[in-house]
């Protein structure tokens, strides 16, 4: 892997860029950097957002001014560079294995047959394959609590729908490209729906509000 690159994301954020791939090792590096940043507790940092291959750092420029003419971004980038260099890989989050119960197919998974046809498998084989793999949460985004999961078996990879649905029901378990995930609430969406879970993935009144967080291990269980 190349050393991470730090790019300005406008004048109030920076992006630490680890690569351009959906891969476990790149994601582990991004999560390690995010943890190092949280531990460092730098001034004026409002948000630290790990993604597949990057970490976004939102900051208040006023917290990064000094005596010389160096810009807030340049000053912050020096600190971030040093942190990135020393970031230690984080151990997997010790939250055990989160099991997500899923009702596959039928009205809950209207695209299960399409996924089976695309994979050249019986629909039972798709359910077995999806449910037998162990996944790891790579990142949260798109909508509050939406977890992008790494570890979808190759046979189930499938390009997104040509036309996204305007309404995907909350709890829908879906496949998009090499990824699988669960829609926490009703939103538009372009992934293939294979089932649905009754679990509430995101509840603003709960602490923590999101059921899943980056680094957690996840398994789907047919119900």
């Amino acid at each position: 892997m190349n050393p991470p690159r730090i790019e300005p994301l406008g004048d109030c954020a920076a992006l630490i860029h680890c690569g351009e791939a959906i891969a476990a090792d790149v994601n582990a590096q991004a999560l390690a950097i995010a943890h190092a940043l949280i531990d460092a507790d730098l001034p004026g940092i409002t948000d630290i957002v790990p993604a597949y291959a990057s970490v976004c750092v939102r900051y208040e420029p006023g917290a990064w001014i000094g005596a010389d003419a160096q810009s807030p971004f340049d000053r912050l980038a020096v600190r971030l560079g040093a942190l990135v260099e020393n970031a230690q890989p984080v151990a997997p989050i010790d939250a055990g294995l989160i099991e997500i119960p899923v009702s596959y197919g039928g009205e809950f998974g209207p695209d299960l047959d399409d996924v089976a046809a695309h994979a050249g498998l019986m629909r039972e084989a798709v359910i077995d394959l999806h449910g037998s793999a162990e996944y790891r949460v790579a990142m949260l985004g798109f909508t509050p609590g939406f977890a992008y999961l790494l570890g979808l078996p190759d046979a189930l990879h499938m390009p997104r729908r040509a036309t996204p649905r305007t309404r995907v029901p909350a709890g829908s378990v879906a496949i998009g490209g090499a990824q699988t995930g669960v829609y926490p609430r009703e939103t538009p969406g372009g992934w293939h729906l294979i089932g649905r879970t009754p679990l509430n993935l995101f509840d603003p009144a709960r602490d923590p509000p999101a059921l899943l967080k980056p680094g957690m291990r996840v398994k789907f269980v047919a119900r």
């Binding site: 790019e7 300005p8 994301l9 406008g10 004048d11 109030c12 954020a13 992006l15 860029h17 351009e20 791939a21 959906i22 995010a34 409002t46 948000d47 630290i48 957002v49 790990p50 993604a51 597949y52 291959a53 990057s54 970490v55 976004c56 939102r58 420029p61 006023g62 001014i65 810009s71 807030p72 971004f73 990142m139 949260l140 985004g141 798109f142 909508t143 509050p144 609590g145 939406f146 992008y148 609430r185 995101f202 603003p204 923590p208 509000p209 999101a210 967080k213 980056p214």
Partner: protein, 330 residues
């Protein structure tokens, strides 16, 4: 103390300084589209910078003030109350706000701040995420006690000057002085908006690189608090870019396959997978927010150093203004 919503207008919502620290969970900041106008409204009634106000979009609501209160309106001009100054309103007064002729957002701050329900540490409405919702008729907004301003004193000190504008209302009095919005607020769609080149600017075709800064874009009717969609010049890439989702922020200019750029705004998602061709600079984001569908937008190239210098100058000036007005309200 409360305000009752009699009619909501086109889209009126409660907005404070936004949600912080939760972007890693996919929770965006939300907050006001024109956050400088929101902060100025708070300054004019002696509120904390972060206090919740009403964000009014294009056509104003009809409100009943159920208690004596001190309010301030900022942002795009609309009939209803004198703007850019503290205004005392008597209990029971009903105000029907008009329609904006120019600009898109106005802000109504109430001394004490709006005390509606907090979700994840903020009162900001996030329409896309479903945290609270735009106001509907019948909503009752609690108003918190102001530590700073006593309505009775103001009524006396404002010398009972009745409201100016297209109406005379004996239940509304305003200060003789007002804030000159010129240095804070700009509705002229011909003034260019500063943009810093994004990570994927170099991947735009030569024509598209020129077009980003030479074209006059038009704000699309499909724009929202999530983003402004800009039409008129289709921008093309040298070759298809396959990107993995990465963090984005308000101001990020994304290029979806349609070729029409999207500038992410207050309800920006936390991550996105489209090429990042530019970033609107922080000081110009509130000005861009005031462009309404059909308005034109021109971009001018900005350097990061200069953008950060101007950002710091603005924060400095806002802090100085807040101190001056606080003294005046004492």
């Amino acid at each position: 103390m409360s305000i009752t919503v009699l009619a909501p207008g086109w889209q009126t919502s409660v907005q404070d300084g936004g949600r912080r620290g939760l972007a890693a969970l996919g929770v965006g900041a939300s907050g006001a589209m024109d956050d400088v106008s929101r902060r100025l409204a708070n300054i004019l009634v002696g509120n904390m910078d972060n206090a919740a106000v009403l964000e009014i979009t294009l056509r104003g609501p009809r409100l009943r003030f159920d208690a004596d209160c001190v309010v301030a309106m900022t942002g795009a001009a609309l009939d209803g109350l004198p703007m850019w100054r503290p205004v005392a309103v008597r209990a029971g007064t009903e105000i029907a706000f008009g329609t904006m002729q120019r600009g898109a957002y106005a802000y109504l701050a109430v001394a004490g701040g709006i005390g509606s329900e907090t979700v994840l540490g903020s009162r900001s409405t996030d329409i896309v995420a479903g945290f609270n919702a735009a106001l509907v008729a019948g909503d009752v907004l609690p108003i918190m006690e102001s530590s700073h301003i006593q309505h009775r004193d103001l009524w006396r000190r404002f010398h009972a000057r009745t409201a100016t504008g297209n109406f005379e209302n004996p239940n509304v009095v305003a200060t003789l002085w007002s804030l000159n919005p010129r240095s804070w607020f700009d509705l002229d769609p011909h003034n260019p908006i500063g943009v810093i080149e994004g990570a994927h600017f170099a991947q735009l075709s030569d024509d598209a690189q020129r077009a980003l800064f030479d074209s006059t874009f038009r704000v699309g009717g499909d724009s929202s608090r999530m983003g402004l969609r800009l039409h008129n010049a289709h921008l093309g890439l040298r070759e298809l870019l396959e990107l993995v989702s990465a963090g984005v922020v308000p101001g990020t200019v994304q290029l979806p396959p349609s070729g029409d750029p999207i500038v992410l705004m207050a309800e920006s998602p936390t991550c996105g997978g489209y090429p990042r061709i530019g970033h609107v600079i922080g000081v110009d984001l509130p000005r861009l927010a005031q462009r309404r569908p059909g308005d034109s937008v021109r971009f001018v190239r900005a350097a990061l150093d200069e953008a950060q210098t101007r950002y710091l100058e603005r924060e400095h000036a806002l802090a100085a203004l807040a101190r001056t007005i606080k003294d005046r309200l004492q």
